[in-house]
Subunit: 463 residues, 2 copies
């Protein structure tokens, strides 16, 4: 007969670490660097400062043949309050990004996965140094109790923070294969610099080579603001949880307080639509009444569409600046679409087409994909953006794949429809697909105009 | 400053249910049916009986327009002992398949995800009836406390099991879109019948239409046996856990008892190779000594390769029988490769090419992919088998895509390298890729021989 077991989420992602992107030593080095760099970028933006990020990868004690490396990532971000540092890196499904607000982080998993992978391949602890800019800097040495999904604190030190530094330094050892991973790591850093042109990223590789991606501006997009759930985006579980925590004893105030852009007037109209009396205590709604309430929310057509204040698109200027800095094209067409939603989640698509200059002719378009300012480098063929580009009728715009062209797609959302825990590619959501298609068409129109104008000028010259 | 939260694994998969395959109402109906059918097939094979599985999908109380369905899946499998029933369906990361033994289930997640999805879309409890063939049949009505990842038992009933029935019946409501999902559901059941030709599968759809997939044999492959970890497949964490639980006080007996096919003689040789004295108490190994032990395990070349007793391939006869029953080709070439390993996990590839008869001409090969006797129906282009078929040189075998040909690939392993939690497609592991390629080539050779023999016969006829 069957023998049952329960396992912790750390154990689940330990056993299935390839599902989180830690497939083999080469991929794991890439995954560790990207998870930590994305955490650092989030942290600097949270602190409202242009990010300064230092990544150093060195050979471990066994030297260059042992396959063991040491990874150190330092940032000038918001830092982490002392009591949360061990769990931030020693517990899976623990984090500060479970909010309705655009961020690179979303699962509460990445940083801990990197530390976990290091631990299972080298059995060495990780060291985390952090300060929020207070009078103290905290240093922890931790390991992870994988079966309990809890950090093990081996050491905790405090020192005085004279310069009121704020930031985080993560240091750990891991098995890897840098030489195999190198092209992807460098491509990742370059594309990160492109889509975050206000960031300084410095990388020292195991051979001591220095790569510097310098900022060309200190201008940053306005930060996103946390938002309330939208009536079109909730289900029974979410509404149940809101009812559990609400202090309101009538459903009118409940609707008005807990839902996005739901004024008293709209809440009134909605409750008339449902036939539920305004004074009804939400805690007295029965299970099927809650189901009906949620169904009614989907059918009521007068809720205002979600605002995009929880999003933070790059904007056409910054996108152009980043493309110029890293791709050096002759001409760039950018387009920022209006906010849209899928399944109640707001999103914005930004596209660009870069032509000529240092863009190489590859016989096909070079596709760059970004989500919440994260470059996506794997599984191109499965990604919705790639499919849109493949199936689009480019001849309408007199653009062909043998031209030196790069097509860039950036999606920002409170919930990127990632297909995988490893954030490799984006699922095919009809609303998102439509926005990508229209965004690329708009950019293609601009390029077509530039090319025909240029052709016209050349013809004039030849007369 | 950052506000931290921890979430349960049920909450993680609730928020990210598209990562588990529950993307939208149409996909969720498919996912629910496949998760329950796979559980039933595992259970019947565990009980050693040819599976009888009944799937019934009906319109919910709102009728055909409400988008609410009721799903009922019944099997004649091993059943579940009473005290484990609530957690089996009410707790994520709980199950009986966390062993080193081939099974369809692997994550401890699927059945609970189906119940969870039903709950968040309809707020109705699920009912589970089960017996292991004892004197009692147990019926539970449960919901899931998602934030705690625990079942909520609403009702528990016992009745006498007069006929000593064994099996499980799962009943729950869910939001869905059957008419969109129907082609995929029917294709799934047909391919399941193909790769499990000893199973009876009956499906009644919401319109009352009956689909019967009848067994053509009661012969089943020998069941897999649970195995020990292999020295080539372990890492520091696994060895640490074995050291914690071992009752042996010397490392020789530790190696001999806890590792696959490690006899006393081989354990001796290995310990001489490492320089660790045979009498060393494994619990006295320091962290870096454990790391060195694991590295030595990877380098010692005299461990016997993993045996395939933990696997249960279909076998050429059953595969042929299943293909004939569901595809009715004129000719079938099958091939079962020898056991191989990737990252220490044993696997076997079985391939087949079916030609002519009722196989339609589609202008390209029809690809059927299976893993541990589960059909994979999504993300074909990302799957390793599809890529092998696309890039193979078929002209060598005088086979071209305009012929009526289906190519089937079945991989069995103690750990299928799924890329996603939704078990949609298989990652590109070099060892697996090589076995698939060689397996298809072998089958292609057989088809080539058949075609040239037939061509020869036809030429003779025309003289
Ligand atoms: N460099 C850093 N600076 C400040 N806070 C950090 C840093 N790295 C991690 N954190 C904190 O630790 C938490 C957990 O990080 P982790 O990478 O595991 O998850 P996440 O970023 O929330 O989500 P994801 O798994 O999608 O990356 C973060 O939410 C953040 O609050
Ligand atoms: N029909 C059934 N008959 C017998 N046992 C079952 C049945 N359905 C589920 N179980 C038991 O409940 C456990 C949990 O099922 P669940 O589908 O959630 O996970 P799993 O099958 O182990 O893994 P996976 O997530 O890969 O499907 C199973 O491991 C099995 O022991
Ligand atoms: Mg992160
Ligand atoms: Mg299952």
């Amino acid at each position: 007969s069957q023998v049952f077991e329960e396992i912790s989420p750390a154990d689940f992602f330990y056993r299935n670490r390839d599902i989180a992107g830690f497939t083999n030593p080469s991929r794991a080095i890439f995954a560790s660097i990207r998870e930590l760099v994305e955490n650092s970028l989030d942290a600097a933006e949270l602190a409202g400062v242009p990010p300064d990020i230092y990544v150093r990868l060195t050979f471990g004690e066994g030297g260059s043949q042992s396959g063991i490396y040491k990874l150190r990532v330092e940032d000038n971000g918001s830092g982490i309050t002392s009591r949360h540092i061990p769990s931030a890196f020693g517990q899976v499904l623990f984090g500060s990004k479970y909010k309705l607000k655009q961020a690179r982080g979303t699962f509460g998993l990445g940083g801990t996965m990197a530390v976990l992978y290091g631990q299972i391949t080298t059995h060495k602890p990780a060291s985390i140094v952090s300060s929020t800019g207070s009078t103290k800097i905290y240093k922890y040495r931790i390991m992870i109790d994988i079966q309990r999904n809890k950090p093990i604190i081996l050491e905790r030190k405090i020192r005085i923070n004279k310069e009121r530094w704020h930031g985080t330094i993560v240091n750990f050892s891991l098995e890897g294969d840098y030489f195999r991973a190198m092209p992807k790591i460098l491509e990742y850093l370059k594309q990160t610099a492109l889509v975050n042109p206000y960031a300084n990223i410095t990388f020292v590789d195991p051979k001591g080579r220095l790569y510097k991606f310098m900022r060309v501006t200190t201008k940053m997009p306005p930060p996103p603001k946390e938002t309330l759930p939208h009536p079109y985006g909730v289900d029974v579980e979410t509404v149940k949880r809101l009812i559990q925590i609400t202090r309101h004893r009538n459903i009118l105030d409940f609707m008005r307080t807990h839902f996005h852009r739901t004024s008293e007037k709209i809440a009134h109209k909605f409750l008339e639509f449902t036939g539920i009396p305004k004074s009804k205590n939400p805690k007295n709604l029965g299970p099927q009444e809650i189901v009906k309430l949620v169904q009614m929310m989907k059918r009521f057509e007068e809720f205002r569409p979600p605002s995009a204040s929880c999003l933070s698109p790059l904007g056409e200027d910054l996108l152009r600046v980043g493309i110029l800095k890293e791709l050096k094209p002759e001409f760039t067409a950018v387009c920022q679409r209006k906010p849209s939603t899928y399944s109640g989640h707001p999103f914005i698509v930004e596209t660009a087409i870069a032509y000529g200059g240092e863009i190489p002719k590859k016989g096909d378009f070079i596709v760059y994909r970004f989500a919440n300012r994260i470059p996506l480098l794997y599984d191109e063929a499965s990604d919705v953006s790639f499919r849109v580009i493949k199936n689009m009728n480019w001849r309408r715009y007199k653009i062909s794949p043998d031209m030196p062209i790069a097509v860039l797609v950036h999606i920002c959302s409170t919930k990127i429809p990632y297909k995988t825990v490893g954030k490799e590619f984006i699922a095919d959501r009809p609303e998102v697909k439509r926005e990508i298609l229209n965004g690329i068409r708009e950019a293609a129109r601009k390029l077509k105009r530039f090319l025909s104008k240029r052709e016209h000028v050349e013809r004039e010259k030849r007369r």
